[in-house]
């Protein structure tokens, strides 16, 4: 369903591009890939991939994806969604999917606000930033998504901006080959809406901010991986091995049935 609905200067196209390149470079079997997204601008991604795809209710992409992955563990399940979808309305599903180590790969596009509805304050809006619902400056402390993901149990956690296209593509390739719950945050420009209220009216200005502020500090403490006007800490923060939920579950099911067969025998 191209052309897409996204605004000029939006970073979503870059993220989709990196995702598609990663799939291509890995020669992923597209018949066995399911792309799931929630509601919001980036939520439309599911409709732009030539794979099985599902556009869920707001916030529920991970809960839906959990059902898919458990029902058919052979499928590669990727959730592409936004910061509001995954961490405000869907925050509970996020921490529990991560805690269970459900074999889902999450690409979260963080644009600091609710773009689809016209730019409201959200769970990642920086302190003092202006949005249509924080006209006097935001007084809510934002989530540090990589810290939250790491603390919740994700086996892979990374943050990049849309400026880091090669590293982002490498990260996506890495998670597509990794077992368990993986999380990539992509800091992305929303010049038409977030930028407009915060003195960065073009995509280029926002990308210049990313260039000036970002610093690659891989495997530094995700708790200290800040995102401010002056500093955006990017990199890989977590990369560990842990048995996934679906593997543990299906091993358990096999054990139960072997035991049953012995009893019958």
């Amino acid at each position: 369903m191209i052309p897409n609905i996204w605004c000029p200067g939006c970073g979503n196209g870059i993220v989709l591009n990196c995702f598609v390149h990663a799939l291509d470079e890995l020669q992923t079997d597209l018949d066995k890939l399911v792309v799931v997204s929630g509601i919001g601008c980036i939520g439309r991604t599911a409709g732009y991939t030539n794979t099985d795809s599902f556009h869920t209710t707001h916030g529920r992409a991970l809960a839906f994806a959990s059902g898919v992955k458990l029902a058919n563990p052979e499928l590669q399940v990727v959730v592409v969604s936004g910061d509001g979808d995954l961490f405000a309305i869907g925050g509970n599903h996020f921490i529990h999917a991560a805690r269970r180590n459900m074999g889902i790969k999450v690409i979260c596009v963080n644009n600091f606000n609710y773009g689809m509805t016209g730019g409201q304050q959200g769970p990642t809006t920086p302190l003092e930033a202006f949005t249509t619902t924080s006209p006097y400056g935001n007084i809510e402390h934002p989530f540090n998504l990589v810290h939250l993901a790491a603390a919740s149990g994700a086996v892979y956690v990374a943050r990049w901006t849309t400026l880091h296209v090669r590293r982002l593509t490498q990260s996506i390739k890495k998670v597509l080959q990794k077992e368990g719950f993986c999380f990539i945050e992509v800091v992305s420009p929303c010049p038409e809406i977030f930028g407009r209220y915060n003195k960065m009216r073009s995509g280029l200005e926002m990308m210049e901010w990313f260039k000036k502020a970002s610093s690659v500090e891989s495997f530094s403490d995700p708790a200290k991986a800040e995102i401010t006007l002056d500093r955006i800490v990017v990199g890989e923060f977590v990369d560990v091995e842990k048995l996934s939920y679906e593997k543990l579950l299906h091993e358990k099911i096999s054990q139960i049935n072997e035991k049953a067969l012995e009893q019958v025998g």
Partner: protein, 383 residues
């Protein structure tokens, strides 16, 4: 009970929740996602033990919203899937019941009704969710809801619910109550060969020609599942037959939503089931469902014994509402009596179908259901 990986064929003494769980297994359900809630928890507990024995999935989610979402995901991945809950959880599920309706995901939702609103009475029966079953999610849609009156029906109608959901690609609701769920009764479980199960129809067109929401003559589209190579898209947004969003077209919205309603209403004759007891010459007809229908049957028999021409129309299907069946008896009867464990819900549907025939409503809240004598008293007053 016999061993693993086998239906419990034979006669058993079970409670309704366990009978429902066994019915799900017999129907071919291989995915259950849920969240603990009284009085439906035993369904989850039993399936956490039984599902793995059949290679099926049991998962406890973080809430009922997630449970319903996971059920839809599993359904799209090709499994027959179910969740079970009670009022508060049923409220949380409404959002994704709407998603299941919109994306035509076959699935079964069991609601063991307790007293509401809000947290209400977790351990007491109610029939207060029957309108929510029809209208709980926003927008217009058709849905199927069944009402078991016995532990045997908790088994039988769970299978029926799966068959209907697979046939019509619609979430199908089993509206039990605390009593049928917790009561212990004899249940006869047939052999696997003796149980009719239905599977969703699959596409028979080449993969590149497949349109996921193009209906057949019965208004139900064949369903491909994830991983089968069809590479299709589904969305909760208003979508065209190809599955892609088309949210500004009144034509697409009208075509889609009317079909979602009509695939149920036009197949009503095939879906609706009622039980008729001594209706042929009845002057007074009790219309009842669920556990209340048991007391109603007793009341009707007592009335007959005392010379009153009474009958019972037991609604097994609540939605689509058995309008024709009620209209038919209303044409002959002098009065209709509707006992319900709520402040008056399905009685309004009965009144609408009964037209001129007077309808007496007997409400009961917050305690045991109606006694036969209470219903008999109203029969007497209306004969």
């Amino acid at each position: 009970m016999t061993g693993k990986r086998a239906l419990l064929t034979g006669a058993h003494f079970l409670n309704g929740d366990v009978a429902c769980a066994e019915g799900a297994i017999a129907a071919g359900c291989r995915f259950f996602a849920g969240y603990p809630i009284t009085p439906a928890t035993e369904i989850a507990e039993h399936l956490s033990q039984r599902m793995p024995e059949f290679g099926g999935i049991y998962v406890q989610m973080e809430d009922e919203i997630a449970s319903m979402a996971a059920v839809i995901g599993a359904s799209y991945a090709g499994l027959k899937a179910m969740t079970a809950t009670s009022g508060p959880g049923f409220s949380l599920m409404q959002e994704n019941i709407g998603l299941a309706v919109m994306t035509e995901a076959p699935c079964v939702v069991v609601d063991i009704m307790r007293g509401g609103p809000s947290t209400g009475q977790p351990t007491l029966p109610g029939q207060q969710d029957v309108m929510q079953a029809k209208w709980g999610s926003h927008g217009d849609y058709g849905i199927i809801a069944l009402s078991p009156s016995s532990v045997q029906e908790m088994f039988d109608l769970t299978i029926e619910a799966f068959n209907l959901s697979e046939t019509y690609r619609v979430p199908t609701l089993l509206m039990g109550d605390e009593i049928v769920a917790h009561m212990w009764e004899k249940v006869v479980i047939p052999s696997a060969e003796g149980i009719r199960t239905v599977n969703r129809k699959k596409p028979n067109v080449p993969r590149d020609k497949y349109m996921p929401f193009m209906p057949d003559d019965d208004l139900v589209p064949p369903m491909a599942c994830f991983g089968e190579g069809y590479r299709f898209h589904a969305t909760g947004l208003t979508h065209n037959e190809q599955g892609y969003p088309q949210t500004s077209s009144s034509e697409v919205q009208s075509r889609l939503v009317r079909r979602l309603c009509e695939k149920i209403s036009q197949n009503e004759d095939k879906i609706v089931r009622v039980e008729r007891v001594t209706l042929e010459d009845a002057d007074v007809v009790v219309v009842a469902y669920g556990i209340v229908a048991r007391a109603a049957l007793s009341a009707v028999r007592k009335a007959r014994a005392s010379g009153i021409k009474a009958g019972l129309l037991r609604l097994i299907t609540l939605w689509p509402f058995p309008e024709k069946q009620v209209a038919e008896i209303a044409g002959r009867a002098k009065a209709i009596v509707v006992p319900e464990m709520n402040c008056g819900q399905l009685v309004r549907e009965v009144e609408r179908a009964a037209k001129e025939t007077p309808v007496a409503f007997l409400s009961k809240l917050g305690e045991d259901p109606h006694t036969p004598m209470e219903i008999l008293e109203v029969i007497r007053r209306n004969c």
